[in-house]
Protein backbone atom coordinates (compact mmCIF):
# COMPACT_ATOMS: atom_id res chain seq x y z
CA UNK A 1 0.00 0.00 0.00
CA UNK A 2 1.20 3.45 -0.77
CA UNK A 3 -0.38 6.90 -0.81
CA UNK A 4 -2.24 7.59 2.43
CA UNK A 5 -4.05 10.90 1.96
CA UNK A 6 -6.26 11.51 4.96
CA UNK A 7 -9.25 13.74 4.58
CA UNK A 8 -11.09 14.75 7.72
CA UNK A 9 -14.11 16.80 6.92
CA UNK A 10 -16.59 18.51 9.26
CA UNK A 11 -16.19 15.99 12.04
CA UNK A 12 -18.40 16.41 15.09
CA UNK A 13 -18.21 14.11 18.05
CA UNK A 14 -19.90 14.15 21.43
CA UNK A 15 -20.16 11.72 24.32
CA UNK A 16 -23.11 11.01 26.52
CA UNK A 17 -21.90 11.24 30.07
CA UNK A 18 -23.50 11.09 33.49
CA UNK A 19 -23.29 14.33 35.37
CA UNK A 20 -24.93 14.39 38.79
CA UNK A 21 -27.04 11.36 37.86
CA UNK A 22 -28.29 13.04 34.68
CA UNK A 23 -27.29 12.06 31.19
CA UNK A 24 -25.83 15.04 29.41
CA UNK A 25 -24.33 15.34 25.98
CA UNK A 26 -20.87 16.75 26.01
CA UNK A 27 -19.49 17.95 22.70
CA UNK A 28 -15.86 16.94 22.34
CA UNK A 29 -14.94 17.73 18.76
CA UNK A 30 -16.57 20.41 16.68
CA UNK A 31 -16.19 20.84 12.95
CA UNK A 32 -12.72 19.37 12.56
CA UNK A 33 -11.29 19.76 9.09
CA UNK A 34 -7.86 18.47 8.18
CA UNK A 35 -6.39 17.44 4.93
CA UNK A 36 -3.22 15.42 5.19
CA UNK A 37 -1.01 14.67 2.22
CA UNK A 38 0.40 11.18 1.67
CA UNK A 39 3.53 10.68 3.73
CA UNK A 40 3.01 13.75 5.88
CA UNK A 41 3.82 13.50 9.59
CA UNK A 42 1.16 15.44 11.48
CA UNK A 43 1.52 16.12 15.18
CA UNK A 44 -1.55 16.94 17.22
CA UNK A 45 -1.14 18.93 20.42
CA UNK A 46 -3.58 20.60 22.76
CA UNK A 47 -4.72 20.82 26.34
CA UNK A 48 -5.51 17.65 28.23
CA UNK A 49 -9.05 16.48 27.47
CA UNK A 50 -9.43 18.55 24.31
CA UNK A 51 -10.19 15.48 22.22
CA UNK A 52 -6.86 14.48 20.69
CA UNK A 53 -7.28 10.80 21.45
CA UNK A 54 -10.88 10.93 20.31
CA UNK A 55 -9.80 12.36 16.95
CA UNK A 56 -7.25 9.60 16.51
CA UNK A 57 -9.75 6.93 17.51
CA UNK A 58 -12.16 8.33 14.93
CA UNK A 59 -9.55 7.98 12.20
CA UNK A 60 -8.75 4.48 13.47
CA UNK A 61 -12.42 3.62 13.18
CA UNK A 62 -12.71 2.80 16.87
CA UNK A 63 -15.26 5.60 17.43
CA UNK A 64 -18.05 6.87 15.24
CA UNK A 65 -18.53 10.54 14.48
CA UNK A 66 -21.86 12.24 15.04
CA UNK A 67 -21.44 14.04 11.75
CA UNK A 68 -18.83 14.52 9.08
CA UNK A 69 -16.62 12.00 7.37
CA UNK A 70 -13.08 10.72 7.30
CA UNK A 71 -11.58 9.13 4.25
CA UNK A 72 -8.27 7.54 3.39
CA UNK A 73 -7.38 7.96 -0.30
CA UNK A 74 -11.06 8.56 -0.95
CA UNK A 75 -12.31 5.49 0.93
CA UNK A 76 -14.62 6.48 3.75
CA UNK A 77 -13.62 5.08 7.13
CA UNK A 78 -16.33 3.05 8.78
CA UNK A 79 -14.54 0.79 11.20
CA UNK A 80 -11.03 -0.28 12.05
CA UNK A 81 -8.84 -1.93 9.45
CA UNK A 82 -5.31 -2.97 8.61
CA UNK A 83 -4.78 0.11 6.39
CA UNK A 84 -4.41 2.16 9.59
CA UNK A 85 -1.88 0.98 12.18
CA UNK A 86 -2.35 2.18 15.75
CA UNK A 87 0.09 2.62 18.62
CA UNK A 88 -1.45 3.59 21.96
CA UNK A 89 0.11 5.13 25.04
CA UNK A 90 -0.22 1.81 26.87
CA UNK A 91 1.29 -1.21 25.17
CA UNK A 92 -1.31 -3.45 23.59
CA UNK A 93 1.05 -6.32 22.78
CA UNK A 94 -0.76 -9.59 23.49
CA UNK A 95 0.85 -11.04 26.63
CA UNK A 96 0.15 -14.58 25.41
CA UNK A 97 2.33 -14.28 22.32
CA UNK A 98 6.06 -13.77 21.99
CA UNK A 99 7.23 -10.46 20.59
CA UNK A 100 7.79 -12.09 17.21
CA UNK A 101 4.32 -13.64 17.13
CA UNK A 102 2.88 -10.26 18.09
CA UNK A 103 4.72 -8.51 15.29
CA UNK A 104 3.74 -11.01 12.63
CA UNK A 105 0.16 -11.35 13.96
CA UNK A 106 -1.62 -9.30 11.31
CA UNK A 107 0.22 -11.11 8.51
CA UNK A 108 -0.51 -14.50 9.99
CA UNK A 109 -4.21 -13.67 9.90
CA UNK A 110 -4.16 -13.22 6.14
CA UNK A 111 -1.55 -15.64 4.88
CA UNK A 112 -0.66 -19.10 6.02
CA UNK A 113 2.96 -18.87 7.04
CA UNK A 114 3.47 -22.55 6.39
CA UNK A 115 3.02 -22.19 2.68
CA UNK A 116 6.07 -21.47 0.61
CA UNK A 117 5.02 -18.70 -1.68
CA UNK A 118 6.47 -15.27 -2.23
CA UNK A 119 3.92 -13.53 0.01
CA UNK A 120 5.22 -15.39 3.01
CA UNK A 121 8.85 -14.59 2.43
CA UNK A 122 7.91 -10.95 1.92
CA UNK A 123 5.96 -10.89 5.21
CA UNK A 124 8.84 -12.49 7.09
CA UNK A 125 11.34 -10.22 5.38
CA UNK A 126 9.40 -7.09 6.34
CA UNK A 127 8.91 -8.28 9.91
CA UNK A 128 12.61 -8.92 10.21
CA UNK A 129 13.44 -5.54 8.73
CA UNK A 130 11.19 -3.81 11.27
CA UNK A 131 12.67 -5.86 14.10
CA UNK A 132 16.12 -4.66 13.09
CA UNK A 133 14.99 -1.08 12.57
CA UNK A 134 13.45 -1.02 16.04
CA UNK A 135 16.44 -2.76 17.62
CA UNK A 136 14.44 -5.74 18.78
CA UNK A 137 16.67 -8.54 17.48
CA UNK A 138 17.39 -9.91 20.91
CA UNK A 139 13.84 -9.60 22.22
CA UNK A 140 11.80 -11.47 19.63
CA UNK A 141 11.61 -14.72 21.57
CA UNK A 142 10.60 -13.00 24.80
CA UNK A 143 7.10 -12.37 26.06
CA UNK A 144 5.98 -8.71 26.22
CA UNK A 145 5.96 -8.66 30.03
CA UNK A 146 9.67 -9.43 29.96
CA UNK A 147 10.42 -6.21 28.04
CA UNK A 148 11.04 -2.72 29.37
CA UNK A 149 8.44 -0.04 28.58
CA UNK A 150 10.60 1.43 25.82
CA UNK A 151 11.16 -1.95 24.17
CA UNK A 152 7.45 -2.69 24.39
CA UNK A 153 6.65 0.51 22.51
CA UNK A 154 9.23 -0.35 19.85
CA UNK A 155 7.52 -3.69 19.40
CA UNK A 156 4.13 -1.97 19.24
CA UNK A 157 5.42 0.29 16.48
CA UNK A 158 6.87 -2.64 14.54
CA UNK A 159 3.62 -4.53 14.91
CA UNK A 160 1.56 -1.59 13.70
CA UNK A 161 3.76 -1.18 10.62
CA UNK A 162 4.15 -4.78 9.56
CA UNK A 163 1.18 -4.80 7.21
CA UNK A 164 2.40 -1.57 5.58
CA UNK A 165 -0.54 0.59 6.63
CA UNK A 166 -1.29 3.75 4.71
CA UNK A 167 -1.57 5.68 7.94
CA UNK A 168 0.18 5.21 11.28
CA UNK A 169 -1.78 6.58 14.22
CA UNK A 170 0.17 7.16 17.42
CA UNK A 171 -1.47 8.32 20.63
CA UNK A 172 1.20 9.58 23.04
CA UNK A 173 3.28 6.47 22.35
CA UNK A 174 6.10 7.69 24.59
CA UNK A 175 3.93 9.30 27.24
CA UNK A 176 4.67 6.61 29.78
CA UNK A 177 8.42 6.52 29.19
CA UNK A 178 11.14 8.28 31.16
CA UNK A 179 12.88 11.28 29.61
CA UNK A 180 16.01 9.40 28.58
CA UNK A 181 14.21 6.52 26.93
CA UNK A 182 11.98 9.03 25.18
CA UNK A 183 15.05 10.79 23.78
CA UNK A 184 16.29 7.49 22.34
CA UNK A 185 12.85 6.75 20.92
CA UNK A 186 12.87 10.14 19.15
CA UNK A 187 16.06 9.16 17.34
CA UNK A 188 14.70 5.75 16.43
CA UNK A 189 11.39 7.16 15.25
CA UNK A 190 12.78 10.06 13.23
CA UNK A 191 14.94 7.55 11.41
CA UNK A 192 11.86 5.38 10.94
CA UNK A 193 9.86 8.32 9.60
CA UNK A 194 12.60 8.94 7.06
CA UNK A 195 12.53 5.42 5.67
CA UNK A 196 8.81 4.62 6.02
CA UNK A 197 6.81 6.77 3.70
CA UNK A 198 3.57 6.15 5.53
CA UNK A 199 1.38 9.04 6.65
CA UNK A 200 1.57 9.64 10.40
CA UNK A 201 -0.86 11.22 12.85
CA UNK A 202 0.85 11.58 16.18
CA UNK A 203 -0.75 12.86 19.37
CA UNK A 204 1.50 14.25 22.06
CA UNK A 205 1.44 16.76 24.87
CA UNK A 206 5.18 17.29 24.51
CA UNK A 207 5.64 20.25 22.17
CA UNK A 208 9.35 19.55 21.64
CA UNK A 209 8.54 16.01 20.62
CA UNK A 210 6.01 17.40 18.14
CA UNK A 211 8.56 19.78 16.64
CA UNK A 212 11.30 17.19 16.39
CA UNK A 213 9.17 14.49 14.77
CA UNK A 214 6.58 16.38 12.74
CA UNK A 215 6.18 18.13 9.40
CA UNK A 216 3.12 19.94 10.68
CA UNK A 217 1.78 20.67 14.13
CA UNK A 218 -1.94 21.03 14.68
CA UNK A 219 -3.07 22.78 17.84
CA UNK A 220 -6.53 21.77 19.02
CA UNK A 221 -8.49 24.14 21.20
CA UNK A 222 -10.41 22.75 24.15
CA UNK A 223 -14.11 22.60 25.03
CA UNK A 224 -15.09 21.78 22.39
CA UNK A 225 -12.06 20.73 20.37
CA UNK A 226 -11.50 22.67 17.18
CA UNK A 227 -8.49 23.13 14.96
CA UNK A 228 -6.97 26.31 16.37
CA UNK A 229 -3.83 26.67 14.31
CA UNK A 230 -1.41 24.75 12.14
CA UNK A 231 2.36 25.22 12.17
CA UNK A 232 4.92 23.81 9.78
CA UNK A 233 8.44 22.85 10.81
CA UNK A 234 9.86 23.56 7.34
CA UNK A 235 11.77 26.67 8.29
CA UNK A 236 13.57 25.24 11.30
CA UNK A 237 17.31 24.62 11.14
CA UNK A 238 18.31 21.00 10.75
CA UNK A 239 21.57 19.07 10.97
CA UNK A 240 22.95 16.97 8.10
CA UNK A 241 20.74 14.02 9.16
CA UNK A 242 17.71 16.27 8.79
CA UNK A 243 17.12 16.39 12.54
CA UNK A 244 15.84 19.66 13.99
CA UNK A 245 18.49 21.57 15.92
CA UNK A 246 17.03 22.39 19.32
CA UNK A 247 19.78 24.69 20.48
CA UNK A 248 18.68 27.56 18.28
CA UNK A 249 16.74 30.79 18.85
CA UNK A 250 14.38 30.03 15.96
CA UNK A 251 13.50 26.76 17.68
CA UNK A 252 12.79 28.46 21.01
CA UNK A 253 10.67 31.06 19.36
CA UNK A 254 8.73 28.45 17.41
CA UNK A 255 8.13 26.36 20.52
CA UNK A 256 6.97 29.43 22.44
CA UNK A 257 4.46 30.29 19.69
CA UNK A 258 2.90 26.83 19.90
CA UNK A 259 2.87 26.82 23.70
CA UNK A 260 1.16 30.19 23.80
CA UNK A 261 -1.55 28.92 21.43
CA UNK A 262 -2.14 25.92 23.69
CA UNK A 263 -2.31 28.17 26.73
CA UNK A 264 -4.67 30.56 25.05
CA UNK A 265 -7.02 27.86 23.82
CA UNK A 266 -7.30 26.19 27.19
CA UNK A 267 -10.51 27.60 28.58
CA UNK A 268 -9.34 29.86 31.34
CA UNK A 269 -12.85 30.20 32.64
CA UNK A 270 -13.03 26.49 33.36
CA UNK A 271 -9.72 26.64 35.19
CA UNK A 272 -10.94 29.59 37.24
CA UNK A 273 -14.09 27.69 38.19
CA UNK A 274 -12.07 24.74 39.26
CA UNK A 275 -9.78 26.85 41.39
CA UNK A 276 -12.75 28.44 43.07
CA UNK A 277 -14.30 25.08 43.80
CA UNK A 278 -11.04 23.74 45.20
CA UNK A 279 -10.72 26.84 47.37
CA UNK A 280 -14.22 26.30 48.72
CA UNK A 281 -13.59 22.70 49.68
CA UNK A 282 -10.39 23.69 51.40
CA UNK A 283 -11.99 26.37 53.56
Amino acid sequence: MSAGAVDISHIFKSFRIKERKKLVIRPVLEDINLSIRPGEKIMIVGASGCGKSTLLRLVAGLEQAAAGSISIDGDVVNGPGADRGVVFQQSTLFPWMTVWDNIIFSRRLRISLNSRDEQVSRAVYRSNALVTLMGLERSVELYPDQLSGGMQQRANIARALVSSPKVLLMDEPFGALDAQTRETMHKVVSHLFNVEKTTVMFVTHDVEEAIVLGDKIVVLSANPGRVDSVFTTELLKRDEDGIVIKNDPVFFDFKEQILSRIRETTTLRATGDLLQRVAKTLV
Partner: protein, 260 residues
Protein backbone atom coordinates in the same frame (compact mmCIF):
# COMPACT_ATOMS: atom_id res chain seq x y z
CA UNK B 1 17.61 -15.66 59.17
CA UNK B 2 15.00 -16.02 56.42
CA UNK B 3 12.09 -13.62 56.48
CA UNK B 4 8.98 -15.78 56.29
CA UNK B 5 6.22 -13.32 57.00
CA UNK B 6 6.68 -10.57 54.43
CA UNK B 7 3.48 -9.85 52.54
CA UNK B 8 3.42 -11.86 49.30
CA UNK B 9 7.16 -12.44 49.44
CA UNK B 10 8.28 -15.81 48.15
CA UNK B 11 9.98 -18.20 50.55
CA UNK B 12 12.57 -20.94 49.84
CA UNK B 13 11.10 -24.03 48.25
CA UNK B 14 12.21 -26.41 51.02
CA UNK B 15 10.54 -24.20 53.62
CA UNK B 16 7.37 -24.16 51.56
CA UNK B 17 7.32 -27.95 51.25
CA UNK B 18 8.10 -28.42 54.94
CA UNK B 19 5.14 -26.25 55.87
CA UNK B 20 2.89 -28.12 53.42
CA UNK B 21 3.85 -31.42 55.01
CA UNK B 22 3.40 -29.97 58.49
CA UNK B 23 -0.09 -28.92 57.45
CA UNK B 24 -0.94 -32.60 57.09
CA UNK B 25 1.15 -34.04 59.93
CA UNK B 26 -0.13 -31.72 62.64
CA UNK B 27 -3.85 -32.55 62.27
CA UNK B 28 -2.88 -36.21 62.09
CA UNK B 29 -0.91 -35.91 65.34
CA UNK B 30 -3.74 -34.03 67.04
CA UNK B 31 -6.13 -36.74 65.91
CA UNK B 32 -3.86 -39.43 67.32
CA UNK B 33 -3.45 -37.60 70.64
CA UNK B 34 -7.18 -37.06 71.07
CA UNK B 35 -7.81 -40.74 70.42
CA UNK B 36 -5.18 -41.90 72.89
CA UNK B 37 -6.87 -39.76 75.56
CA UNK B 38 -10.06 -41.81 75.05
CA UNK B 39 -12.40 -38.84 75.33
CA UNK B 40 -14.75 -39.95 72.58
CA UNK B 41 -16.01 -43.42 71.90
CA UNK B 42 -14.32 -45.15 68.97
CA UNK B 43 -17.68 -45.16 67.25
CA UNK B 44 -17.51 -41.39 66.90
CA UNK B 45 -13.81 -40.94 66.36
CA UNK B 46 -11.87 -44.04 65.37
CA UNK B 47 -8.12 -43.91 65.81
CA UNK B 48 -5.82 -43.49 62.80
CA UNK B 49 -4.72 -47.06 63.31
CA UNK B 50 -8.25 -48.45 63.01
CA UNK B 51 -8.87 -46.31 59.97
CA UNK B 52 -5.75 -47.73 58.38
CA UNK B 53 -6.88 -51.27 59.17
CA UNK B 54 -10.19 -50.52 57.54
CA UNK B 55 -8.31 -49.20 54.52
CA UNK B 56 -6.38 -52.47 54.27
CA UNK B 57 -9.57 -54.47 54.49
CA UNK B 58 -11.20 -52.37 51.80
CA UNK B 59 -8.15 -52.69 49.54
CA UNK B 60 -8.40 -56.44 49.87
CA UNK B 61 -12.01 -56.38 48.72
CA UNK B 62 -13.01 -53.80 46.13
CA UNK B 63 -11.49 -50.38 46.90
CA UNK B 64 -9.91 -50.04 43.46
CA UNK B 65 -13.09 -50.93 41.70
CA UNK B 66 -15.02 -48.39 43.79
CA UNK B 67 -12.38 -45.75 43.14
CA UNK B 68 -12.31 -46.44 39.44
CA UNK B 69 -16.06 -46.23 38.95
CA UNK B 70 -16.28 -43.06 41.05
CA UNK B 71 -13.45 -41.40 39.14
CA UNK B 72 -15.14 -42.41 35.91
CA UNK B 73 -18.37 -40.73 37.01
CA UNK B 74 -16.71 -37.58 38.25
CA UNK B 75 -14.49 -37.16 35.21
CA UNK B 76 -17.33 -37.87 32.77
CA UNK B 77 -19.72 -35.43 34.44
CA UNK B 78 -17.00 -32.83 34.65
CA UNK B 79 -15.84 -33.24 31.05
CA UNK B 80 -19.36 -33.05 29.73
CA UNK B 81 -19.97 -29.87 31.73
CA UNK B 82 -16.67 -28.38 30.54
CA UNK B 83 -17.17 -29.21 26.87
CA UNK B 84 -20.62 -27.62 26.84
CA UNK B 85 -20.13 -24.98 29.53
CA UNK B 86 -16.91 -23.34 28.32
CA UNK B 87 -18.20 -22.33 24.87
CA UNK B 88 -21.48 -21.12 26.34
CA UNK B 89 -19.58 -19.09 28.94
CA UNK B 90 -17.38 -17.57 26.24
CA UNK B 91 -20.41 -16.56 24.20
CA UNK B 92 -22.18 -15.09 27.23
CA UNK B 93 -19.11 -13.04 28.11
CA UNK B 94 -18.67 -11.84 24.55
CA UNK B 95 -22.10 -11.15 23.09
CA UNK B 96 -24.63 -9.09 25.03
CA UNK B 97 -27.46 -10.80 23.19
CA UNK B 98 -26.38 -14.24 24.39
CA UNK B 99 -25.78 -12.81 27.85
CA UNK B 100 -29.30 -11.39 27.98
CA UNK B 101 -30.79 -14.68 26.94
CA UNK B 102 -28.76 -17.20 28.95
CA UNK B 103 -27.23 -15.47 31.95
CA UNK B 104 -30.42 -14.89 34.01
CA UNK B 105 -31.69 -18.44 33.55
CA UNK B 106 -28.24 -19.83 34.26
CA UNK B 107 -28.03 -17.84 37.50
CA UNK B 108 -31.52 -18.99 38.38
CA UNK B 109 -30.67 -22.67 38.07
CA UNK B 110 -27.22 -22.24 39.58
CA UNK B 111 -28.69 -21.60 43.01
CA UNK B 112 -30.77 -24.76 43.05
CA UNK B 113 -29.12 -27.57 45.03
CA UNK B 114 -27.92 -30.41 42.82
CA UNK B 115 -29.37 -32.94 45.24
CA UNK B 116 -32.86 -31.56 44.62
CA UNK B 117 -32.57 -32.75 41.03
CA UNK B 118 -32.20 -36.39 42.05
CA UNK B 119 -35.89 -37.28 41.76
CA UNK B 120 -36.10 -35.58 38.38
CA UNK B 121 -32.97 -37.28 37.13
CA UNK B 122 -34.39 -40.64 38.24
CA UNK B 123 -37.60 -39.86 36.43
CA UNK B 124 -36.03 -38.56 33.23
CA UNK B 125 -32.79 -40.48 32.91
CA UNK B 126 -33.38 -43.60 34.96
CA UNK B 127 -30.95 -45.33 37.30
CA UNK B 128 -27.99 -46.13 35.02
CA UNK B 129 -24.53 -44.57 34.87
CA UNK B 130 -25.87 -41.55 33.07
CA UNK B 131 -28.00 -40.66 36.09
CA UNK B 132 -24.93 -40.35 38.33
CA UNK B 133 -23.00 -38.48 35.67
CA UNK B 134 -25.94 -36.11 35.27
CA UNK B 135 -25.92 -35.14 38.94
CA UNK B 136 -22.24 -34.23 38.73
CA UNK B 137 -22.90 -32.40 35.50
CA UNK B 138 -25.68 -30.37 37.15
CA UNK B 139 -23.42 -29.64 40.10
CA UNK B 140 -20.68 -27.97 38.07
CA UNK B 141 -22.08 -26.99 34.67
CA UNK B 142 -23.81 -23.79 35.75
CA UNK B 143 -20.81 -22.70 37.79
CA UNK B 144 -18.47 -23.22 34.86
CA UNK B 145 -20.72 -21.10 32.66
CA UNK B 146 -20.78 -18.06 34.98
CA UNK B 147 -17.12 -18.24 35.85
CA UNK B 148 -15.98 -18.55 32.24
CA UNK B 149 -18.24 -15.66 31.23
CA UNK B 150 -16.61 -13.51 33.91
CA UNK B 151 -13.11 -14.53 32.85
CA UNK B 152 -13.89 -13.58 29.27
CA UNK B 153 -15.28 -10.21 30.31
CA UNK B 154 -12.00 -9.51 32.06
CA UNK B 155 -10.03 -9.45 28.81
CA UNK B 156 -9.03 -5.79 28.50
CA UNK B 157 -10.83 -3.93 25.74
CA UNK B 158 -7.49 -2.60 24.49
CA UNK B 159 -6.47 -6.01 23.17
CA UNK B 160 -9.72 -6.39 21.28
CA UNK B 161 -9.36 -2.94 19.75
CA UNK B 162 -5.72 -3.62 18.85
CA UNK B 163 -6.71 -6.80 17.06
CA UNK B 164 -9.37 -4.97 15.05
CA UNK B 165 -6.86 -2.31 14.02
CA UNK B 166 -4.63 -5.09 12.72
CA UNK B 167 -7.41 -6.24 10.45
CA UNK B 168 -8.74 -9.10 12.56
CA UNK B 169 -12.30 -10.15 11.85
CA UNK B 170 -14.85 -10.93 14.54
CA UNK B 171 -14.14 -14.65 14.58
CA UNK B 172 -10.41 -14.02 14.68
CA UNK B 173 -10.79 -11.68 17.65
CA UNK B 174 -12.81 -14.36 19.40
CA UNK B 175 -10.18 -16.97 18.66
CA UNK B 176 -6.87 -15.19 19.00
CA UNK B 177 -7.71 -12.60 21.64
CA UNK B 178 -10.69 -13.55 23.75
CA UNK B 179 -10.11 -17.28 23.91
CA UNK B 180 -6.30 -17.21 24.00
CA UNK B 181 -6.26 -14.42 26.54
CA UNK B 182 -8.79 -16.02 28.84
CA UNK B 183 -7.38 -19.54 28.46
CA UNK B 184 -5.27 -19.56 31.65
CA UNK B 185 -8.23 -18.34 33.69
CA UNK B 186 -10.55 -20.82 32.03
CA UNK B 187 -8.12 -23.60 32.81
CA UNK B 188 -8.04 -22.55 36.45
CA UNK B 189 -11.83 -22.45 36.52
CA UNK B 190 -11.85 -26.03 35.26
CA UNK B 191 -9.42 -27.01 37.99
CA UNK B 192 -11.62 -25.54 40.69
CA UNK B 193 -14.72 -27.16 39.23
CA UNK B 194 -12.99 -30.52 38.99
CA UNK B 195 -12.59 -30.23 42.75
CA UNK B 196 -16.25 -29.37 43.19
CA UNK B 197 -17.23 -32.29 40.98
CA UNK B 198 -15.70 -34.62 43.58
CA UNK B 199 -17.80 -33.03 46.29
CA UNK B 200 -20.95 -34.02 44.38
CA UNK B 201 -19.89 -37.67 44.25
CA UNK B 202 -21.68 -38.80 47.38
CA UNK B 203 -24.89 -37.11 46.24
CA UNK B 204 -24.54 -38.64 42.79
CA UNK B 205 -24.07 -42.11 44.23
CA UNK B 206 -27.22 -41.76 46.31
CA UNK B 207 -28.94 -42.50 43.02
CA UNK B 208 -29.38 -46.26 42.92
CA UNK B 209 -25.67 -47.05 42.97
CA UNK B 210 -24.22 -50.40 43.95
CA UNK B 211 -20.55 -49.45 43.67
CA UNK B 212 -18.36 -46.39 44.15
CA UNK B 213 -16.69 -44.47 46.96
CA UNK B 214 -19.73 -42.35 47.68
CA UNK B 215 -21.92 -45.44 47.73
CA UNK B 216 -19.47 -47.15 50.09
CA UNK B 217 -19.61 -44.18 52.45
CA UNK B 218 -23.41 -44.27 52.48
CA UNK B 219 -23.31 -48.03 53.03
CA UNK B 220 -20.83 -47.69 55.89
CA UNK B 221 -23.07 -45.12 57.48
CA UNK B 222 -25.87 -47.63 57.55
CA UNK B 223 -23.67 -50.15 59.39
CA UNK B 224 -22.09 -47.54 61.68
CA UNK B 225 -18.70 -48.43 60.15
CA UNK B 226 -17.07 -45.09 61.05
CA UNK B 227 -13.50 -46.12 60.09
CA UNK B 228 -14.66 -46.91 56.56
CA UNK B 229 -16.40 -43.53 56.31
CA UNK B 230 -13.08 -41.95 57.23
CA UNK B 231 -11.26 -43.99 54.58
CA UNK B 232 -13.80 -43.03 51.93
CA UNK B 233 -13.57 -39.34 52.75
CA UNK B 234 -9.79 -39.37 52.86
CA UNK B 235 -9.54 -41.17 49.54
CA UNK B 236 -11.86 -38.68 47.87
CA UNK B 237 -9.69 -35.93 49.32
CA UNK B 238 -6.49 -37.49 48.02
CA UNK B 239 -7.94 -38.01 44.55
CA UNK B 240 -9.14 -34.42 44.47
CA UNK B 241 -5.69 -33.26 45.52
CA UNK B 242 -3.99 -35.32 42.80
CA UNK B 243 -6.29 -33.98 40.11
CA UNK B 244 -5.71 -30.46 41.39
CA UNK B 245 -1.97 -30.95 41.33
CA UNK B 246 -1.96 -32.27 37.78
CA UNK B 247 -4.07 -29.34 36.63
CA UNK B 248 -1.58 -26.97 38.25
CA UNK B 249 1.35 -28.67 36.57
CA UNK B 250 -0.36 -28.56 33.18
CA UNK B 251 -1.18 -24.90 33.73
CA UNK B 252 2.49 -24.15 34.23
CA UNK B 253 3.37 -26.01 31.06
CA UNK B 254 0.62 -24.61 28.82
CA UNK B 255 0.65 -21.01 29.98
CA UNK B 256 4.28 -20.14 30.57
CA UNK B 257 3.53 -16.56 29.60
CA UNK B 258 1.15 -16.03 32.48
CA UNK B 259 3.96 -16.55 35.02
CA UNK B 260 6.30 -13.63 35.46
Amino acid sequence: MIALTNIRDSIPRWVYISFSIAGFIIPLAVWQIICSMHIFSALFLPSPERVFKSFERWTASNLWEDTYISAYRVVSGFLLAAVIGVPIGIYIGTFKMVEAMLQPINDFIRYMPASAFIPLVLLWIGIGESAKISIIFIGVFFQIVVMVADAVRNIPQKYIEAAYTMGAKKGEVLNHVIFKGAAPDIFNILRVNMGWAWTYLVIAEMVAADRGLGFAILQAQRFMDTPKIFVGIIIIGILGLLFDLSFRIMHRIFFVWSYK
